[in-house]
């Protein structure tokens, strides 16, 4: 599968999906007015990956901000990743949040409670 590489903008995140390495990253801000437009190709891509995933998949989510429109799309992303774990394959979601950003930690915990895939909450110290 061809990798997805999208550069971030003030309203959309940097995306780096590499099927060869089983490493997926979403990083930055996700606050577009129309998030479906942005996430639909990603969700479709993950759907394909989930039908034949590597033994180990690592997902890094490092968001500074996301809006409620994105929150549903991000859940769709996770639901595709949930499919990966159903075939006895290993998957881990690393949810990064900045030190002191309780809201972002809580957002990660919300997803964790909805989904059946392991989440690792990782605090990033202030630079």
């Amino acid at each position: 599968m061809e990798a997805i590489l999208i550069e971030g903008t003030p309203k959309t995140p940097t995306v780096n999906f590499n099927a060869q390495e089983g490493k997926f990253e979403i990083k930055g801000r996700s606050i577009p007015e129309n998030s479906i437009e942005f996430y639909k190709p990603l969700v479709d891509w993950l759907d394909k990956y989930a039908s034949n995933p590597l033994d180990k998949t690592e997902v890094n989510i490092q968001l500074e901000y996301f809006n409620t429109s994105s929150s549903k799309c991000i859940l769709d992303v996770f639901k595709k990743l949930e499919k990966v774990s159903q075939g006895n394959k290993e998957i881990v979601i690393n949810w990064f949040y900045e030190e002191d950003d309780e809201d972002m930690l809580e957002a990660g915990e919300d997803y964790q409670s909805i989904l059946r895939i392991p989440f690792k909450m990782i605090e990033i110290g202030e630079e």
């Binding site: 549903k72 950003d101 972002m104």
Partner: protein, 188 residues
Amino acid sequence: MKSNENNTNNFELEKWFSSQLLGEVLFSYKGNISPSLITEILETIENELGKKEEKMKIKKRVYNILVEALQNLYHHIDSTPQEKLSLGERFIVFIISKDGESYRIITGNFIKINKVRLLKDRIDQVNYLSVEERKALYKLILNNQEFSEKGGGGLGIIDIARRISTDLNYNFFRYDDEYAFFALHVEI
């Protein structure tokens, strides 16, 4: 005062707007809403917040609420009443200020009278819930509800409410037989 339905037919937009400019106003706007306006407001406020001696957590909370408040307007606004069209077809009012220890975000927009009841009920319901219940409702909608035809997730109001521990304050001012003016006040 939690809510107020003003039934007199003499809402004066300019007067109301001026009366809302309290404290240190970081940004105020009256006019059309568009994605580029939202981007501009967000950039400006992010810069302004950057200059403040404030906990990162609070700055991020203000920014998040700002995004939701503006995008709520963008997704749900009704067109402007005919005689006010000179103001812009998708007219909104937006003010963010710092007053004492707290930040205040005010948005205003015209709304068809027949939609007032639904919106009022929705806000009242959210206000009635505790912070924990707001969180639970957020998760329920996140997981169960489809996108609305307007592209919103149906989560804007509840997302704002769960980030503050107080109530969402609002006013509906009757404008004419067809329209009301809806003002939302969020204290952070």
